[in-house]
């Protein structure tokens, strides 16, 4: 009997001390919940963004934020919007994260964005390129640190409008991203140059392995220039087919992200030269001391140069840290107020701003042409022309109109 009594007291003491421990630890770390694709082919981009984020956190956590550190938890959405959404919910409800971040899949991003709005949790999108995220479906709780289809289309259109071409052919992957890019470049091109005519379109199913028949059919129609709307594995297939048919020597071609080294590197010398592409970041451009230092640190940590997702991930981490510092408290609403219009140092040099009116990071667009150079065993973007964020982004009035405000 006595033994039981002592045991009960002991248990009680332990329980009381546990409860007492709770409130003492007021300085809890800031938690970021990341939902992204870490399996299957898109994992390349998901991991790259995460590496950029981790690299920035190492620097940030050395000095700390609000006397604490930033921690993160990742979830693999497997490129499935329903999985991504339930994981975002789990992160908010179980892990009680302060901020959500991710994902490569635009459908997932839009689904999580809707949830973030209901739950009033800030959500920062870092790879998805749908212009709807910060456009017509934008709201107080969603931010984007990646370029989108509007910016890509406008950049491509302003480059093409300077050329004498009028008869265009549009071809691409038959899904949201492909059509979004196609619509955007077409809309902007016609606005800049009304005489432009789209003489034909071809859309192939996502993952269509052999694009040669599509390309030969396009060449037979003899357009002045071709706009390709492809991404991921299709991009490689398209570039291979362009090379095999010698298309880029016959017709001018523009493809958003064709100049991405993640696309060009696996192709090696097999990538076609002379394809116009647009990117918001290259590890070799802009050629600034800051960018060199960033690339060097990244290569040292992960063994390969950073891609555009790493750039976005890195900026995202710094935006989160700076916004919490400015907010002065672990408060979601204050965090959002602080993040609006916030400027942080860009790893590529200079400052980079989170635009207040639409929560879209102001990113430049680099227009370039694929070219063989002796320094690398793969093609790089050359003759780069920089379009500033203001030149390619929709105006705040356009955003208001799109959102029906």
């Amino acid at each position: 009997m006595k033994k039981t009594f002592v045991f009960t007291i002991l248990i009680l003491a332990v329980l009381v001390s546990l409860v007492a421990c709770g409130p003492k630890k007021a300085e809890r770390p800031i938690k970021v919940g990341i939902v992204d694709t870490y399996s299957g082919p898109p994992a390349v981009y998901g991991n790259d963004a995460l590496n950029g984020f981790k690299l920035a956190l190492e620097e940030i956590n050395k000095e700390g934020v609000l006397g604490t550190t930033i921690e993160f938890t990742t979830r693999d959405e497997q490129f499935k919007p329903d999985v991504g959404l339930s994981m975002a919910k789990e992160l908010v409800l179980n892990e009680q994260v302060d901020v959500l971040a991710g994902t490569i899949n635009s459908a997932t991003a839009l689904a999580i964005s809707e949830y973030a709005k209901e739950e009033k949790v800030p959500f920062i999108v870092w790879i998805s390129k749908s212009e709807k995220i910060t456009g017509e479906q934008g709201h107080r709780y969603v931010f984007s640190t990646g370029e989108n289809t509007y910016m890509a289309g406008k950049a491509g259109a302003s480059a093409l409008a300077q050329q004498p071409y009028t008869k265009y052919w549009i071809a691409g992957d038959d899904y949201e991203y492909g059509h979004a890019i196609g619509d955007s470049v077409q809309r902007n091109l016609k606005a800049l140059k009304p005489e432009v005519e789209i003489i034909g379109e071809s859309w192939w199913k996502v993952g269509e392995p052999d694009l040669v028949p599509y390309l030969t059919a396009i060449m037979a129609a003899k357009p002045d220039a071709v706009i390709f709307c492809t991404g991921g594995a299709s991009m490689t297939n398209a570039l291979k087919a362009i090379k095999a048919t010698g298309m880029s020597e016959q017709v001018p071609i523009w493809i958003h992200t064709a100049t991405d080294h993640a696309v060009l590197k696996p192709l090696g010398a097999e990538a076609p030269e002379g394809v116009m592409g647009t990117m918001d970041y290259h590890f070799y451009y802009p050629d600034t001391a800051e960018n060199k230092a960033f690339v060097e640190a990244f290569e040292k940590a992960y063994g390969s140069p950073p891609g555009f997702p790493a750039f976005h991930g890195y900026v995202t981490a710094h935006l989160i840290a700076e916004a919490f510092k400015k907010a002065g408290a672990l408060d979601r609403e204050k965090f959002i107020d602080a993040l609006e219009g916030l400027k942080v140092k860009s790893p590529a040099g200079g400052e980079i701003e989170m635009r207040a009116c639409d929560h879209q990071l102001v990113l430049p667009m680099y227009l370039g042409v694929t070219k063989k150079v002796p320094e690398y065993d793969f093609l790089i973007s050359s003759d780069i022309v920089t379009l500033t964020g203001d030149e390619v982004m929709p105006t705040c009035d356009e955003i208001k109109a799109a959102r029906g405000e």
Binding site: P209, P213, T236
Partner: protein, 297 residues
Amino acid sequence: MEFGQSFSFAALGSQFLVGLSRAMILFVVCAGLSFVLGVLRVPNVAHGALYMIGAFSAYSISTQIGGNAGFWLALILAPLVVALVSLIAERVLFCHLYQREHLMLLLFTFALSLILGDLVKLVWGATYRSIMAPAFLRGSFPIFGSAFPRYNLFLLFIGPLVAVGLWFFVNKTKMGKISRAAAVDREMVGALGINVSWVFAAAFVIGCCLAGLGGALVAPTISITLGMDHNIIIEAFLIVTIGGLGNIWGALVGSLLFGVTQSLGVLFWPQFAIVFPYATVVIVLLLRPRGLLKSVW
């Protein structure tokens, strides 16, 4: 946009050739699938995964060795790698399952395709891979006034070569004759004192070898990536079905029909080109539900 693009007969001719060359890869893959279907009665969903392994192996072999020789060796060795994988799968797993009903086999091979897919991810990772065709097969040359990739011309040679090789094997060798007989009546073949188990193993390995060859052949023209198995397996089953289950020549006819309707569809009606080959499948199955040629099932 109007239905008919303006096109010339030259464009039609070159588009037809492009379709034919695409059909050659489909044929190599489908012939293997159909052979296994015919002899073993196994609807092998994992055939696509084996095709993917073929492509990834071709990548590893050609990058290890490098240069033109790398490609040619890959073309020979990649199917052998696939043969080895399939031999292990057959001896360890399949040989216990032949008597099961088709639905079981379908589920089993589907599971196997997922396992093989993950295996590929473990060995090669999730990144895109790409290999180059030998120098003289790169680029294009003009045919009917439009560009025709050299590699596709090479495919136009390889396809018939494989077809002739298969014909020779099935009709002129003892092994081929036995497997043909086993396709018709396996009990009878067993009753004649032939070790049916090993005949089946050999037939399975040969069929899978063709998947590997298809993978190696397609490797230089596409990005080698996870998920390439799903694309091919659906098309392959459609082709085998319209050709006549288990009939290798049916696979040839089906592939040609599929490849050519696709490439011509692209020329005539580019926005809806995806529909053409599938519409063809529907029409064929409406008119001839058991396929164009005689099905062995």
